[in-house]
Symmetry: C2
């Protein structure tokens, strides 16, 4: 039987620290992306807000200086790398859309260096040391997919990963893989009591999106400690790629810089969705109450 539609693509995830100098952060990520390309990656995803520290640990209006426009320094630097190495790159940015209007976004660059489009983080957290609602207006572009040289992809960002609805909509849009650039870590005072269950929940919910939708899922998280010792964040790394059945096919450690490269294939998606065909049986006639805040 014909299998003319089968496509293989290699994903690269960059897990690293980002320091206090934007230029250095760009340079270091450029080098890491080049290394991922040397290892065979075709679609590379950087961690959330790769160009800055995770500054949302406090509310400080001067930190809006970290924002950039599209096009801007990030798209300029990575468009060149994308073209040179024929890479698709998911570039998370702190987007300045207008004066006083900012988003937590990701630019999707195609393998010729062109900009395919933008995703703006839809779900914005607000939690001690994660004061994102102060900085980011919730996205207004919805859940999107992008046709790249290496197939259709989607990206969501960090807190989005806790929402099955977002993953579902990206998958229904025909993406083969869902990226989650991320900045998640432990509070020092919580790590002993809740650290293991937090990291487990984080991986579990993302593997579940792979399973429910028969789609690859790839999360690129930052690593290292930021902030004052007793009141900072220990980013837990653990970047990983899940296959469409929830099997983790590549996984980084919790405490050091790593580049993950994993091979994915639409043949595996085909196999999984034929085996347990969940998409066949969705009760679309019964899901409309999901747009309610609460139903009790």
């Amino acid at each position: 039987m014909p299998d003319s539609q089968s496509l293989t693509f290699r994903v690269g995830l960059i897990q690293t620290t980002s320091g206090a100098d934007a230029g250095v952060n760009i340079e270091r990520h450029v080098e890491l992306v080049r290394e991922a390309a040397r290892r065979g990656a075709q679609i590379v995803c950087l961690q959330e807000m790769y160009r800055s520290p995770y500054f949302c640990r406090e509310e400080d209006a001067s930190l809006f200086d970290w924002a950039e426009t599209v096009p801007g320094p990030s798209t300029e630097a990575f468009s060149r790398i994308a073209r040179e190495h024929s890479l698709v790159i998911v570039v998370p940015i702190f987007e300045k859309r207008a004066t006083g209007l900012y988003h937590n976004s990701a630019v999707i660059l195609d393998a010729d260096g062109s900009t395919l489009g933008l995703y703006r983080k839809m779900h914005i957290p607000e939690d001690p040391l994660f004061y994102e609602k102060f900085y980011f207006t919730p996205g207004d572009l919805g859940f999107r997919t992008f046709d790249t040289r290496y197939g259709r992809i989607a990206t969501l960002i960090c807190w989005d990963q806790w929402y099955p609805e977002g993953a579902r909509l990206a998958a229904l849009g025909g993406a083969n893989i869902l990226f989650y650039p991320t900045a998640i870590g432990w509070h020092p005072y919580e790590k002993d009591s809740h650290g293991a269950s937090q990291r487990s929940a984080w991986q579990t919910i993302q593997r579940s999106h792979a399973i429910a939708n028969g789609i690859y899922v790839a999360a690129a998280n930052r690593v290292g400690f930021e902030g004052p010792p007793g009141n900072g964040l220990e980013f837990w790394g653990s970047s990983f790629v899940s296959d469409p059945f929830g099997v983790v096919i590549a996984e980084a450690g919790t405490d050091k810089e790593e580049i993950l490269v994993a091979e994915c294939s639409t043949a595996r998606i085909e196999e999984v969705r034929r085996g347990w065909p969940f998409l066949r049986d969705r009760r679309i006639d019964a899901y409309s109450p999901i747009v309610n805040r609460w139903l009790a």
Copy 2:
């Protein structure tokens, strides 16, 4: 600060085999439910179609004889037990609704023996040895919750567990716990190659419902082998209870009859939903395309 709303409830799950005699199956389950009550259970859930073998391994119209009405033998037997032991019981039945119209359902009995209502399985599988579309009309009651003596609960059934939408709607209805009576097992020819990843996917997707919604999830699965040696099903047991953060607090083995009893509390739900408040940030303005079959 006041905590007058806090409620503790103990869940019992019955994992066993069901043989060829309906009367014996009822009797054996009655004994197991009594034992769960002795161990302190207040809300007990039986496995899917506890009163019969998993007959959907073949398509045979004579097997509709296994169906029963509501009220019928199951509600009669378990209403008495519910009243005697002050138990809430989730009783899965093969429901004969009318001549030629059948559902895969669950009756919810309150602790005084009264019938609180019915859930009818919304997502119906169809897979070699799981020929359920032949027997069961998809449910037409939607995703419901039930106010029992021990708090608000919801039940879904087996294949429903792969659909985040169902879990979400039950959770938005205010349930503290979501039950999944189940009959899932390995094909003998698949167990070596896919068995571990299948069981892992099954637990992962259900733990993810707990995490996404901050709700307890409890799955009661059957155990044992049914059918001819080379072409039967090995039900994998593994019944479990997940807390609202995805932590498995009770889990049965894969190969023998077990009664699981686990203590749950709304204080834990409160703690989890305050810690990582996912319900706060849902983008209900952006989810409506979820009622589409496909969006590409």
